[in-house]
């Protein structure tokens, strides 16, 4: 099993003819994801050819793509100025899951798009996220497939490459994953740690969970308390940004210590207080997961 995506996921790619969209569409197809449609306004009726020769029909609107191909998930690679609109378009077209890869969406735009997907009951992952991968089944987004392998660990992270680092080390140590989810580095995101934890809780194949957080906000603290109250699985935590200065945005728009709130120290302490094993270095995640799986 896995969460959010699996072999039955039928994906539409919004922005399929763009630079990132076309590259990653080929990657997703190569990985085995069912990419059933692409959307680029003005290019409806054309066909996208993936690197392996797979042909994907292109539509002008997500609505048409969904009606004609039965797509049930969407991934968004459109430029930031149009991305919040693309999220709302996908939700309106009735897909169950929207994964927004785009970085740089205006936060006020996202407050409206977030309300919109909430109104329609659509799950949004991201924006500014690497997407999700259920190893051996499907991937949506940009997580390199070759660093993952099927297995019992669920991974949730606010970061992209840091997730790759952790997952690659797990894989190298022979520990596979049910699903790896990048929830995104922006202040307003559609799916938070708790949403993912709740989904992993329902997945019988997930036996341990890795939570990779960073400075800014209180999502990790909220997750820690939720874990103590709701989850009966071993959880390993890591927080990036112990050396980050207050008041400065560290790359991710959401990674900023405001006043004395949102520090790595505070988050690591809250993890420990709630029974989560805290890794000091990324490499320590592996041994802590091994410990957790053994018990």
């Amino acid at each position: 099993m896995s969460i959010f995506i699996d072999a039955s996921t039928r994906l539409v790619v919004q922005g399929i003819t763009g630079r990132d969209g076309s590259f990653h569409t080929s990657q997703m197809i190569e990985y085995g994801t069912q990419v059933v449609a692409g959307v680029t306004p003005g290019k409806g009726g054309q066909t996208f050819e993936a690197e392996d020769g797979t042909l994907v029909p292109i539509f002008n609107t997500v609505d048409r793509a969904v009606r004609e191909t039965g797509a049930n998930a969407s991934v968004i690679y459109v430029p930031p100025a149009f991305a919040s609109g693309a999220i709302m378009e996908a939700a309106d077209a009735g897909v169950d899951l929207v994964v927004a890869i785009t970085e740089g969406i205006a936060v006020q735009d996202m407050t409206r798009a977030y309300a919109f997907v909430q109104d329609r009951g659509t799950r949004l992952l991201g924006p500014n996220c690497p997407g999700a991968i259920s190893p051996g089944k499907a991937k949506i987004g940009i997580i390199p497939g070759e660093i993952t392998t099927p297995g019992p660990v669920g991974v949730i992270s606010r970061s992209g490459t840091l997730t790759y680092e952790a997952v690659a080390q797990l894989t190298a140590a022979g520990i596979g994953q049910t699903t790896c989810v990048g929830i995104g580095g922006d202040p307003i995101i559609g799916t938070n740690f708790i949403d993912c934890l709740a989904a992993f809780k329902e997945d019988p194949d997930t036996e341990a969970i890795v939570v990779i957080g960073e400075i800014g906000g209180t999502d990790e603290q909220d997750a820690a308390r939720w874990i103590r109250e709701n989850l009966d699985l071993p959880v390993v935590g890591f927080i990036a940004g112990q050396t980050a200065p207050p008041g400065r945005t560290m790359g991710h728009a959401g990674a900023i210590i405001s006043g004395s709130a949102g520090t790595a120290e505070e988050k690591m302490r809250t993890f420990e207080e709630n029974g989560i094993a805290v890794a000091k270095r990324p490499v320590d995640i592996v041994s802590l997961v091994q410990n957790g799986l053994r018990t």
């Binding site: 930031p80 309300a115 970061s159 992209g160 490459t161 270095r281 490499v283």
Partner: protein
């Protein structure tokens, strides 16, 4: 992006908010002339992107133009929290019967704009939040509706008893939200919001932060960017689309991805070193970005060793390798460079680097440890 008080006040005035008149001076003589034009007692206020100006001596009352000149000459060139004061704002001193606080910001936990108001104005609102949270009224603005009239009234009603003041403040809430919305703010704050002895409500200080992602559609606000007030390295980083934050250590870091960049800094510290910077070259790297990154890092005289940590995903390792080779041709790089590369096209990258006399590792820990040693022994 933080903007100056005088710029924030321009945005507020455009939204209709009552803000006393003012002018900016870059010399003491200009300040004197402005004080003469305004007449009466004025305030001379340092324009820097930080709080705590008052405590640092950056805000002074002047009862004559000569005094304004004197204050301005002392404040201009002053350093407040590492920032040099290059401009002062001169504005009439207002008699104050009452000070309150009004702010609106993007609140991540409620995923929406949030108003905060408090009758305890003129002080740090975070302090009030800790010591006297009941003195703050908060309101989540539903982005589907915006700030509704009764909500503006409800906020104003928390600040004042007098109906005339409530009415004025209520209107100002709506105007402030309008300024917040139309200028792509992540924060818009009036502190203090004052009441004059004559019963007028006015905004006499203003603080605004703009969401960088909105600037492409707000050329007038983008023009507020004060590159004179920011270090060269930050300007260069922004031009090259790099995320960069200067720190105090000696290990220069160049990483792809914000989370990995922070984790790399933390690992430098773990192994006993101090990172010189946060630097994320982003996802779709190209050689030019790497060159810019090395220019910025080597521009910091503290840097004793340079550490690359690249996990190739979208980022292609060969692009980064080409950038490193290119940069060594264009700039004279003194500190030693240690490189960790893994992921997309790492084999090609290794060939490129070895051909140019570099080596590279695949282990993050080994490379960070090595960089810390090199910096310590330099």
């Amino acid at each position: 992006m933080d903007i100056h008080e005088y710029q924030a006040k321009e945005l507020f005035r455009a939204a209709g908010l009552p803000v006393p008149p003012d002018e900016v001076a870059t010399t003491a003589e200009e300040a004197e002339a402005i004080a003469r034009r305004l007449g009466g007692t004025v305030v001379v206020k340092a324009q820097v992107h930080t709080g705590g100006r008052g405590k640092a001596g950056g805000v002074k009352l002047a009862s004559t133009p000569a005094e304004a000149k004197e204050h301005a000459s002392r404040i201009l060139g002053m350093t407040i929290k590492d920032l040099t004061v290059q401009k002062v704002l001169v504005t009439p001193a207002e008699d104050i019967a009452n000070e309150a606080y009004v702010g609106v910001l993007i609140d991540r936990s409620s995923q929406a704009p949030m108003f905060m108001v408090s009758p305890e104005g003129g002080v740090d609102i975070e302090e009030v939040a800790e010591t006297n949270p009941e003195a703050i009224r908060k309101l989540r603005v539903d982005p589907r509706y915006g700030l509704l009239p009764h909500q503006a009234l409800w906020l104003a009603d928390f600040l004042y008893e007098d109906p005339s003041l409530v009415k004025q403040a209520s209107k100002m809430m709506t105007q402030l939200y309008q300024a917040f919305r139309s200028n792509g703010c992540s924060l818009a704050e009036i502190n203090p919001l004052i009441v004059t002895p004559g019963g007028e409500v006015k905004a006499i200080d203003a603080k605004v932060s703009i969401d960088e992602n909105e600037l492409h559609r707000l050329p007038a606000v983008e023009a507020y960017r004060d590159t004179d007030a920011e270090p060269w390295a930050e300007t260069r980083a922004r031009e090259a689309s790099l995320s960069f934050v200067k720190l105090e250590g000696d290990v220069g870091c160049c990483v792809n991805g914000a989370g990995l960049a922070m984790a790399t800094m933390d690992l430098v510290k773990y192994y006993g070193g101090e990172p010189a910077n946060f630097l994320d070259i982003g996802g779709s790297s190209n050689p030019d970005k790497v060159v810019a990154a090395l220019e910025i890092i080597t521009g910091d005289p503290n840097v004793k060793a340079i550490l690359f940590n690249i996990f190739g995903g979208i980022t292609r390792c060969d692009d980064v390798a080409n950038g490193i080779v290119e940069a060594t041709k264009r700039i004279d790089i003194k500190p030693p460079i240690v490189i960790r590369l893994t992921g997309t096209n790492d084999k090609e990258a290794l060939e490129i680097l070895e051909a140019a006399g570099f080596s590279a590792d695949t282990s993050m820990d080994r490379v960070v440890e090595r960089a810390v040693e090199l910096a310590a022994s330099a």
